[in-house]
């Protein structure tokens, strides 16, 4: 018989990523009795090297082995650890585009959601986490993007990131990722929030318009499983665009839940240059092409030897190519997907089934994106670009670029994403929205969502800044509507 335990709190927050950690911090600071639960383990930034096998084991759900089904399938990554995606992403801090917010506001009838109305929440957020540009200049891959953009007269810019640069006594600069475990979570705990890691909420017990308690399985320090009943006054579900709808649907909340998953699918190419491309300065390149945003973003990816091998593995003579790996880097074309995916639980199984159709329009946008990426890299001095399409020819000059400008095939091509959104969109339009303008689930008095799942679509920019600003805005609205407490 599994041991059982009851826990009481005023506010339960499920999920400790940028949305959940921000919510927990603000509500705890306002004097609320907050319990933050996280399915994954609690690790520090230093526990695993970035983008390593160990990091995948410790911090990713299913060690990163997750796919959304469609033609082609899309490999997606979900973090599963205290701090969520902020522990594993590039930390790029990008303001959203005003026209994207305006479209969402009009299309979903969202109150108080213009860029001007959100700006104070971005500014407040930047006081809680360090957001900076690189103090000693960008790395080689970023410089290539800038050179190519300069040649083509395209707009390009360094995106600031959630990173701190500390001068050490030796004169070297130490870079520290400003993830949630370094920023919002310690601040939340300092303000009185309790954190329970390795605890998976199975379902919320409902009674008409209210959730009464959560049933969760928690692993204690001995590895023993304990069944918890967590009683609360209000619950915020912030488990991300896949796990939030999965939990709600398991609990019986299904209206517009998990019906409209959106993403930023990306395709990658490896490019070879005459110069060395590795100097350990920046990890993920921080410069992006701004010219075609929000519909298309061009940028660089983490490019260590194993990652280059992964993206070159479709090539017949991969070993020979990899002998020049120090002169190679990975670049991506990222689009705003137009297909709507679904999140559905499968009876008797833990994990939901994710379907994500890439539309003809998306595959055509990828063709355009690859073409422009090829233009950029050739202009930056690439001597060879390896096609991401199985059996596709490599690109050595402008005349070869035509082979990239095609509607992407439905198989034999690797599409991946780490940006997932909109599975429970917010707004006052009951015909398509799961939650109101401030995250309260329609039809329920004490169930709130506050993460990427409530965004109305794919923003066309790295989403962490937007997710944190929206979470801050919604937490403030919640406190305004509560009889006690203020920020």
């Amino acid at each position: 018989m599994m041991p059982q335990k009851n826990i009481h709190c005023e506010i339960l927050i499920v999920g400790s990523g940028p949305g959940g950690a921000t919510t927990a911090c603000l509500l705890a600071r306002a004097g609320k009795d907050v319990l933050l639960v996280e399915e994954g383990g609690h690790f520090s930034v230093a526990d695993a090297a970035a983008y390593s096998l160990k990091e995948m084991d410790l911090k990713y759900r299913h060690a990163g082995m997750t796919v959304a089904f469609g033609k082609p399938t899309v490999a997606y990554l979900e973090a599963c650890c205290v701090g969520g995606a902020s522990e594993v992403n590039a930390g790029l801090y990008h303001y959203p585009f005003a026209e994207v917010l305006e479209n969402w506001q009009a299309g979903f009838q969202i109150k108080e959601f213009g860029l001007r109305e959100l700006e104070p929440f971005f500014r407040d957020g930047e006081q809680d986490i360090a957001v900076t540009k690189m103090p000693a200049g960008v790395g080689p891959a970023s410089r290539k993007i800038l050179e190519g953009a300069d040649q083509l007269n395209w707009k390009a810019a360094e995106v600031p990131r959630c990173w701190k640069y500390l001068k050490e006594p030796s004169g070297k600069t130490k870079q520290v990722r400003q993830s949630m475990t370094e920023t919002m979570i310690p601040k939340a705990i300092q303000a009185g929030c309790r954190l329970l890691a390795r605890t998976k909420v199975r379902y919320l017990k409902l009674n008409r318009r209210a959730a009464l308690f959560a049933v969760a399985d928690s692993f204690n320090s001995d590895g023993q499983k304990v069944r918890l009943k967590i009683f609360f006054k209000n619950v915020f579900v912030c488990a991300g665009a896949i796990q939030t709808p999965a939990l709600l649907r398991r609990s019986g909340i299904k209206r517009h839940i998990g019906d409209s998953l959106r993403m930023h699918p990306a395709i990658r190419v490896v490019a070879l240059f005459k110069d060395q491309m590795h100097d350990n300065t920046e990890g993920v390149p921080v410069v992006q092409i701004q010219e075609f945003k929000p519909r298309l973003t061009l940028g660089g990816s983490y490019s260590a030897l194993p990652h280059l091998a992964l993206w070159l593995s479709g090539q017949r003579d991969v070993g020979k190519k990899l002998s020049l790996w120090k002169n190679m880097a990975i670049f991506y074309a990222l689009i705003v997907g137009t297909g709507k995916g679904t999140v559905r639980n499968i009876p008797f199984l833990e994990d939901p089934w994710i379907a994500m159709p890439l539309t003809e329009k998306d595959r055509s946008a990828f063709g355009d994106g690859l073409f422009r990426l090829g233009q950029l890299l050739l202009a930056a001095g690439a001597t060879e670009i390896y096609s991401p399409i199985a059996g596709g020819p490599s690109i050595k000059n402008r005349a070869d670029l035509g082979s990239l400008k095609q509607v992407l095939p439905q198989s034999g091509v690797d599409i991946s994403t780490i940006h997932l959104f909109s599975s429970c969109p917010m707004g006052e339009d009951f015909k398509q929205c799961a939650v109101d303008s401030f995250g309260k689930v329609h039809g329920f008095d004490n169930v709130y969502l506050n993460d990427a799942s409530i965004l109305s679509g794919a923003p066309g920019a790295n989403p962490q800044a937007l997710i944190m600003a929206v979470a801050r805005r919604n937490a403030q609205k919640f406190l305004e509507n509560e009889p006690t407490g203020s920020l």
Partner: protein
């Protein structure tokens, strides 16, 4: 399962990487163990499908040539991988592609890591 994956990984490394990176038996064994571990870590429906397809791959050789994949010589194994890679069935191509990607990524990760990490007995 581990035996089939080890044979697959060995063949992929010898075809794609050996000339430039050599073939380290210890790293190869560890690569196979990690791939099997990764398959077990997948969502159940994916994991079951991968195990089933890997077994189909192993036994399909028996139907055509009287030998399971893991009992074949390196060149015979290579022929079978080539047949699956060029198959008209996308599921066959996907199986080979999956193992190629996993093998090169994990093998290169281990080769790229400090020697002490490589020689640890268990997976990372």
């Amino acid at each position: 399962m581990t035996k089939v994956v080890l044979h697959l990984a060995r063949n992929i490394v010898s075809t794609l990487l050996e000339q430039e990176f050599g073939q380290d038996q210890h790293v190869l064994n560890k690569t196979a163990v990690i791939i099997v571990q990764r398959i077990r870590q997948m969502p159940k429906f994916l994991s079951w499908a991968m195990v089933f397809l890997t077994m189909v791959f192993e036994w399909s050789g028996f139907i055509l040539s009287g030998k399971r994949f893991s009992s074949k010589t390196l060149s015979e194994q290579n022929e079978q991988i080539e047949r699956w890679r060029d198959s008209r069935l996308s599921v066959c191509r996907d199986v080979v592609q999956f193992y190629e990607k996993m093998t090169v990524f994990i093998y290169c990760s281990l080769m790229d890591s400090p020697v002490t990490d490589r020689q640890r007995s268990g997976p990372t």
